[in-house]
């Protein structure tokens, strides 16, 4: 039995039976709301949203047949289909529009001032600190969108908590997260081998916040990233830049992960924000990046090396060896000083005995790999930076 089958068997005793009480409760409430609808003020007993906004939003939803197939969009010049609906009118739900674009085409470099190519962690910190002072960055406006481009590795050898074989199944995905964090859009991933000139025609799917859907940055969604209290720009921008004080915050921002000591907690909180957060459209203020690199520089157990990301780009790697046999490496772009991906690599041969048997992981084996190819603020979902 592997770990998934074990979990699947947990609490398997709970029977699958008709639930007349649930059915009855639902049908009674629906009938009651019909009696008083539309716009009736009756609140049903079971419907007790933690936030007042949710019920208001849902009521409007029910009365407004929304979006979807009706959105016939003109396809722009290889860039994006116009989605005016999501500009000022905030409608909740899920919709799709036609989309056309070149998913693997490189994005123009950001107007980030470069002080040169960093080749050491000290240089990186010096450059990023200066850059952050000159170009402090900004929060996306609530109706702007953060475009995210990711390359992700899977394996022909299979996966189960890590890549069993070589990282040979690579795809590129594009997604967009609205500035307020409460809506997201995406197009289906394409193989990373797709040439930059290839135009893909497909569908852009847009989700907006509603009960049942959650986004890490959406205020009041009750969900945030890992152990982070918040990942809104204003919160991140308010964090201390003094390394010791920031370490305190980071140690508190660690999710319930297996950490053997405080440095590991701090490192994993950073990993959560950069790897998981930035890839989900969390915008990290440059001065926080600078402060984080400072923390990494002096954190016990963190090592520094030249590294290559999944897309073959050379970067600066900060890594920590976890659980004694693999290193979790965060790769930073030496020219823009921004996060460009993570890589988990075995640092020694390791026999991983798990519930489905023992697998031998060879030293140097890549266990997980993904690259953040771009993050940029744009006006509309589906739009690529130009």
């Amino acid at each position: 039995m592997n770990e998934l089958e074990l979990i699947a068997s947990l609490r398997d005793e709970v029977p699958l039976t008709a639930s007349s009480r649930v059915e009855h409760a639902v049908l009674t409430e629906i009938a009651a709301s019909r009696k008083h609808a539309p716009g009736g003020s009756r609140r049903n007993r079971a419907s007790r949203p933690g936030r007042g906004g949710a019920s208001r939003r849902s009521r409007r939803l029910a009365l407004t047949p929304v979006i979807a197939g009706a959105l016939a969009a003109a396809v722009g010049a290889g860039v994006y289909a116009g989605v005016d609906l999501f500009g000022s009118a905030r409608q909740a739900g899920t919709g799709t529009v036609a989309w056309s674009g070149r998913p693997t085409a490189p994005w123009p470099s950001t107007a980030h001032p470069s002080y040169g190519r960093a080749t050491s962690e000290a240089q990186l910190i010096a450059y990023v600190t200066r850059a952050a002072a000159t170009a402090p960055g900004r929060a996306p406006e609530p109706d702007e969108w953060v475009a995210v481009k990711i390359e992700h590795a899977g394996s022909s050898g299979g996966e189960g908590g890590y890549l069993f074989g070589p990282p040979d199944k690579r795809d590129v995905s594009l997604s967009w997260v609205r500035g307020d964090g409460c809506a997201a859009a995406s197009v289906p991933p394409v193989p990373a081998a797709t040439t930059p000139a290839t135009t893909i025609t497909g569908k852009l799917t847009i989700h907006t916040e509603r009960p049942g859907y959650y986004f890490v940055g959406c205020p009041g969604s009750g969900t945030t990233l890992g152990g982070w209290r918040s990942v809104t720009y204003s919160y991140l921008n308010s964090l201390p830049t003094n390394p010791a004080a920031l370490e305190g915050v980071l140690a508190q921002s660690n999710g319930p992960v297996a950490a053997a000591n405080r440095p590991q907690e701090i490192f994993q909180a950073i990993d959560e924000l950069l790897s998981d957060g930035e890839m989900q459209g969390v915008v990290v203020p440059p001065k926080l990046s600078a402060a984080i690199y400072r923390v990494l520089q002096q954190l016990p157990g963190v090592h520094f090396e030249s590294a290559t990301d999944l897309a073959g780009r050379q970067g600066l790697g900060f890594y920590m060896v976890l659980e004694g046999y693999y290193k979790l490496e965060l790769v930073i772009d030496p020219d823009t000083y921004t996060f460009m991906g993570f890589k988990d690599v075995a640092t020694r041969d390791h026999a991983m005995t798990a519930t489905d048997g023992t697998r031998n992981i060879k030293k140097g084996h890549v266990m997980g790999w993904a690259a953040l190819l771009g993050q940029a603020i744009v006006d509309k979902p589906g739009q690529l930076p130009s």
Binding site: L6, L10, V26, G212
Partner: protein, 213 residues
Amino acid sequence: MIVQDEGVAWRARAAARSSGDAAYADDATVIRDSVSDPERFAVLVHRHAPAITRYVTRRLGADAAEDVAAETFLVAFRQRASYIGDGRDCLPWLYGIATRLCHRHWRMETRQLRLLARTGVDSVIEPFTDQVEAQVTASAVKPRLAEALSRLPKPQRDALLLQAWADLTYDQIAKATGVQLGTVQSRISRARRRLREQLADLNPAQMNEGDLP
């Protein structure tokens, strides 16, 4: 028969309908029809209440489950006009709503898992087993599983349980939780890696000796 109560009459009509044509319509059709004809929604409740109730019960226990399961359908009812499904099966959508509603009981869920981890007795399955049986089947594996589950961050626990307990595919989990496919892959991947590590010392042979049903 004279039916005074509108709700009862409505349910009677809905039940009559559900035994007829609507029983064979797929979920997307039922939902679409229910926008103009709300009674049709009863078909959906009847069809999926058992699965949703079981999933929520496994996460939260029977006490909290009824309310959460009922509210899942009420939320779905209010949002039915914006439902965009790929046809036959709206369960992933409902599981997504239920998962989100389970978050209100996050602390309780985690507390119950910790209790199972410490004592080996699972309050969630108690109503469905007799006490003696519950004690006897308390294996070495379950507390470890519960401990590992209780340590998973919210998004990872959600993704893993949607896969393990709701049998959703990565793609369905992505749709149900409103995140990228790649994010789901990495969440489940990380969750599974943690579990593998935390359960690594369990002897596979032991586990095949009926520790688990």
